[in-house]
């Protein structure tokens, strides 16, 4: 959203002819994180899935890291930017798939807003990730049921989606935790 202006700031002569947004370092950082999340989304779309809707949700690793480092508002930005930009990339903006992603992301973010207040010493990124992925399928299944397939038969798929959510939520949480472990080392290393 804001990254388009970053590479043009050097060319001072052209600045008057362009519309420049006043962007902060934080904006750039969010844009970068969203871009990484977007990359992971593209990556995982190349992975074949046995069942439509069952996918690892690798981009949520980024959401988790942003949540832990920069707080919930930043996580909302990165997550929603990723959903909107991803839908533009895959050409399903405002199509059913977009609303499925959006409802899942919004539910996840809502749950993360609550889960991040759990005691840090006991509950880490894995808990956040698992809860968020469960919220994700709840949001998606709600949209599917209310809008796309209003039939109770989709309930038969819930255990499959829930299992996928638990497995991928755990894996994503562990990956996020590992990344943040390394972050901590680097930060403490640079401070000392």
């Amino acid at each position: 959203m804001t990254a388009s202006t970053t590479d043009k700031q050097d060319s001072g002569e052209q600045r008057n002819s362009r519309i420049l947004l006043n962007t902060t370092v934080d904006d750039h950082h969010l844009a970068k994180m969203a871009a990484v999340a977007l990359g992971l989304t593209v990556l995982e779309n190349a992975i074949p899935s046995p069942l439509p809707g069952v996918k690892p949700g690798l981009a949520n690793i980024i959401t988790l890291i942003v949540l832990a480092r920069f707080g919930w508002r930043a996580a909302v930005w990165v997550s929603l930017l990723r959903v909107v930009a991803g839908s533009l990339l895959f050409g399903n903006f405002l199509a059913p798939g977009f609303f499925l992603s959006l409802s899942g992301a919004l539910c996840s973010l809502t749950v993360l807003a609550l889960a991040m207040h759990l005691p840090q010493r006991l509950f880490g990124p894995v808990t956040h990730s698992v809860l968020a992925s469960f919220a994700h399928i709840i949001g998606q299944m709600t949209v599917v049921y209310l809008w796309l397939i209003p039939h109770s038969g989709i309930a038969y798929l819930i255990p499959i989606f829930a299992t996928a959510a638990l497995v991928f939520g755990t894996v994503n949480g562990l990956v996020a935790a590992r990344f943040m472990d390394n972050d901590g080392k680097q930060v403490s290393g640079s401070q000392s």
């Binding site: 759990l118 005691p119 010493r121 006991l122 509950f123 880490g124 990124p125 894995v126 808990t127 698992v130 809860l131 469960f134 309930a155 038969y156 819930i158 255990p159 829930a162 299992t163 959510a165 638990l166 939520g169 755990t170 949480g173 562990l174 935790a177 590992r178 472990d181 390394n182």
Partner: protein
Amino acid sequence: MNSHEPPAAFLRDLRPGDWLTLLAGGLCIILLSNQVWNGGLADTAVIRSGGKIFSAVPLSRDQHIGVPGPLGTSIITIEKGKARISSDPSPRQYCVRQGWLERSGEIAICLPNEVSVELTGGQKKYDSLNY
């Protein structure tokens, strides 16, 4: 991520509450699967003859029930929580060939003899009933 880490290093990233979450998630899935995949099992067979309810019998007791119709007697067999029409005087035997019914909502109809068996009671109100 250096190569000196022990293979189970990821366990370090799991805090006590995380184990709790995983456990709760696993339990949720088990409960959900039970609820969703076994919840459709029926517990009652409603037998109709000539459009009227002839009897409603629990599937828990194995038995054979003879139901009279215009062509003769249809025999309904109930066994191990399943029900089927094992014998029927209808010419084409569709309801007999349908075989065992076990899920709520399944129905076998012998149209010529005006006999039907429908399974009901997927959403159980009680865990068990004693007679």
